[in-house]
């Protein structure tokens, strides 16, 4: 019986993904151009309101990455395939990036609107908490060396974190709305709604593309890790 030392597992092939990536960015450019050029400036906010075409889709898609982490974490615990763990980790990283984008844009929006960079607004605050949850998930992964243990533990942490998302959101909302009323733009311009949806799709496509590329990179990282270990031990 021979056990092959598995240093070169079948690595992901690019396939049609580069074309998909080009499509994603073209779609994004199109939808952003539509948002910037075709919609009417807001009555109160003027052109500033157009930051919403990035801020809002990023926030929506960020919430979606939690669902992806949740799904692949469950799938990992069920099927024990390392690849599922790597997808969950990739989704968490992409989620953290979108989350950071949401926060920064929220602050840029806040400065001219409320005159301060940060306000304990319900959505902004809960986004910050979700960002911290994502960061702690990624920190946990960084602190564990054994791949099986890392996958097992981060699956548990990912599931609990995702379950907590609606609870965090509700608690922060209650915390704020018991004291002050929300102030978000109430534009009913149909172009605004259409552009928002268009850009949400652009971000959705982008999220899938980013997760895929991050996942490919993670697979290569794992293969490199295995090769380095094999080489180091082979010399003995």
């Amino acid at each position: 019986m021979t056990q092959s030392v598995d240093t070169n597992p079948d690595l992901p092939k690019p396939g049609y993904w580069p074309w998909y990536g080009i499509f994603c960015f073209l779609f994004l450019i199109g939808s952003q151009a539509s948002g910037l050029l075709l919609s009417v400036p807001d009555r109160d906010m003027g052109h500033l309101q157009k930051i919403m075409y990035v801020h809002v889709p990023a926030a929506w898609i960020m919430s979606l990455t939690f669902v992806v982490v949740l799904y692949y974490s469950f799938r990992y615990l069920w099927k024990q395939q390392e690849n599922d763990d790597l997808v969950a980790a990739s989704a968490a990283e992409v989620g953290a990036a979108f989350c950071g984008l949401t926060l920064v844009l929220g602050m840029i929006w806040g400065k001219p609107t409320w005159g301060v960079w940060w306000t304990w607004d319900a959505r902004l605050t809960s986004t910050l908490v979700l960002f911290l949850i994502m960061v702690s998930y990624l920190a946990l992964r960084a602190f564990i060396d054994d791949p099986h243990r890392r996958a097992q533990w981060s699956a548990a942490v990912g599931i609990l974190g995702a379950i907590n998302v609606p609870i965090v959101y509700m608690s922060v909302k209650w915390w704020r709305t018991l004291h002050q009323v929300q102030s978000m733009p109430s534009t009913v311009d149909p172009m605004y709604v259409i552009n928002l949806r268009l850009n949400a799709f652009a971000f959705l496509f982008l999220m899938i593309y980013f997760i895929r590329r991050r996942y490919e990179a993670a697979r290569f990282e794992r293969a490199a890790e295995l090769a380095v270990q094999a080489a180091a031990l082979g010399r003995r």
Binding site: V135, F143, I159, L160, G161, V168
Partner: protein, 228 residues
């Protein structure tokens, strides 16, 4: 294995954890002392104005319990790791969730006792007048403690066995506990102010929902976490 057997294992773990803690009283004493110290430091940060202190009392109390509690959770697994006692623990036949439930009860008692001390000191230091609805206040304390201890016991099972456990446990735990902290702080605060608007009830329902979710989820996930 029958429920009777499971229950007996839970009791054995509670007894073992509390006995070892009781024998080395330094552990509990220093954790409680740390809680009190944090309260004193909050007093300095908030200044000597009596009204400001009273307003911030609930928040300061919960943060003190949170920071001191983190130490308790890691200690709870330290006992197992010190001389390789975790392996025999995993080798006893029967369900693994009993280990979690046993440690959960032991930590509840540990943190509960600490909470009593810190609360009593807090009432004095922050010049809190006890409201007529104090039984509700105790219920808020109990509900908040359950959520805190359940997640703390769960995450410590991982953090205590990783590199950098001192930083990893609070990093994992604190953001997850935001709903508990907000609800417990707000409920305590409105109860201390007489609860004119009847807000406390809503916060308490939220605490209860949170507790149910975050006792059940760790219970189910524990087996996956402890065995590797």
């Amino acid at each position: 294995m029958s429920a009777h057997e499971d229950w007996r294992r839970v009791r054995a773990i509670v007894w073992k954890d509390l006995t070892t803690e009781g024998r080395s009283k330094a552990g509990f004493n220093s954790v409680a002392a740390l809680g009190v110290t944090i309260l004193v430091l909050f007093g300095f940060a908030l200044g000597p104005d009596a009204q400001a202190l009273r307003d911030a009392a609930a928040g300061a109390l919960w943060l003190a319990v949170l920071f001191a509690g983190v130490l308790a959770f890691n200690r709870s697994y330290q006992v197992e790791l010190e001389s390789g006692a975790l392996e025999p623990l995993l080798l006893y036949p029967g369900a693994r969730w009993t280990i979690f439930v046993g440690k959960l009860f032991a930590n509840l008692i540990f943190v509960g006792l600490m909470l009593v001390i810190v609360t009593l000191v807090g009432i004095v230091l922050f010049q809190v007048t006890i409201p007529p609805s104090w039984p509700k206040l105790i219920a808020v304390l109990a509900l908040g403690t359950i959520g805190l201890v359940s997640l703390g016991t769960f995450y410590a099972a991982m953090a205590s066995r990783s590199r950098a456990r001192e930083v990893l446990l609070p990093l994992l735990l604190f953001p997850m506990l935001v709903p508990v902290l907000l609800a417990a702080m707000q409920a305590s605060k409105v109860l201390l102010n007489g609860d004119m608007m009847h807000e406390a009830g809503a916060w308490m329902s939220m605490l209860m929902a949170y507790d149910v979710i975050f006792v059940v989820a760790p219970l189910l996930a524990f087996e996956h976490v402890i065995e590797v």
